[in-house]
Symmetry: C2
Subunit: 205 residues, 2 copies
DNA sequence: TCAGCGCTGTGATTTCTGTCACATTGTGAA
DNA sequence: TTCACAATGTGACAGAAATCACAGCGCTGA
């Protein structure tokens, strides 16, 4: 895939280096890309699709933190990579996805030599950190109805559509809630003319 | 203050640079060091005491995220500093505290020239990111009783003591809960012989 | 066509947490 | 000592959310 346009800020030399050393890889919708406790050997750049980054607990509960789209990188894979540590998160393809995997051995060198890479890493840290902060805000200060609204808007936002093709169960899983609660809240939102409900689909109005 | 021993990994040259350019500053217990929305002009290293990093919402609710002790640095001030952005968090002195403030203008240079500084920054990112992940875990998956237990153990851990000199109200604030709830849960823990309760003090057993 | 299964709607009940009201106790200052 | 105030204890109640039970509904494949 021709990915250079996704990273216009990278110097030609850097692009060369990546091209020579990185591996492209595809994942189908639903495939797990990275698992809690797994060793990290590469830094992951997303070229196409969407990756869902979430936390899993012992009882099988899940909790969505954020998505990564084209042009974004996994901050955890960068931080861990530098220190060859294990990941503390789960990453799963939300759509069919293409990624670029850059071996960790290159990281130090790239950080030192290429200003644009250094900037990119810093930006990535900053972005994910901010997203985690807003996640904390949501669960610390908001009730499920507001969290659901936030969830739907973000989901719609990332694809640019006004429709959300998910079952209530899938939404409940992402929010670590239960299907009934989500169904009821959605009904309330429908009565307030905020959404229209269909089978496997929700339309924002 | 003689702070060099807190950062034994720093090269002599780096220490020189910091010594020439950084400003030492003291804060008394309870003083706010950094406020949400405030511009960041320096990277903050903690020399002595404890700083509490927390989030605040519009209704006056607070939510503790983590503490910074001697030898640690504020990840947010590093990330923001590099891009001259505003802080999204509150920082308050939990005890009388000494910090070292390094002007942001030096950051780029230090990152490039001093390997030990680069390592330190990466380590700081990693550490705070992990702590945020465990914060997310706690509020997403755990009930107040477990969160309280975690809170008490962490609080005791950071000072090395088995006693916690806080009122129930202060604990409730940190957990964005209410005093009555904390009192009741503590009573339950006392019945289970997990703690002993005194006025303004809790002892772990 | 219809049988089956997954999705959605809804009531009843329980648990957890927050809120209000008020009693009790400990401590320090006058 | 005594008063005032902060800290703690506790009951009653309210609301959010989880759980259980079950009823329809819609799509899909035989």
């Amino acid at each position: 895939m021709n990915w250079k346009q996704l990273f216009p800020q990278f110097e030609p030399e850097l692009i060369d280096l990546i091209e020579k050393n990185a591996v492209e890889r595809s994942f189908r919708t639903g495939e797990v890309i990275m698992r809690t406790g797994q060793y990290i050997k590469s830094t992951v750049l997303v070229l196409e699709g969407q990756i869902k980054i979430y936390r899993e607990n012992a009882d099988g509960g899940e909790f969505l933190m954020y998505y990564l789209g084209p042009g974004q990188a996994c901050a955890v894979s960068m931080i861990c990579a530098i220190q060859s540590q294990t990941s503390e998160i789960m990453a799963q393809a939300e759509e069919d996805t293409e990624v670029l995997m850059i071996p960790i051995q290159l990281m130090d060198d790239m950080m030192n030599k290429y200003k644009s890479w250094y900037q990119f890493v810093i930006q990535t840290y900053r972005g994910r950190f901010d997203e985690l902060l807003s996640v904390v805000d949501n669960i610390a200060f908001r009730n499920m109805d507001e969290r659901l609204e936030f969830y739907l808007k973000r989901y719609a936002g990332k694809s640019g559509k006004k429709t959300i093709e998910l079952s209530h169960q899938q939404i409940a899983d992402d929010l670590n809630s239960s299907r009934e609660v989500i169904s009821r809240l959605l009904k309330k939102m429908e009565q307030q003319k905020l959404v229209k409900l269909y089978r496997n689909m929700i339309e924002l109005v």
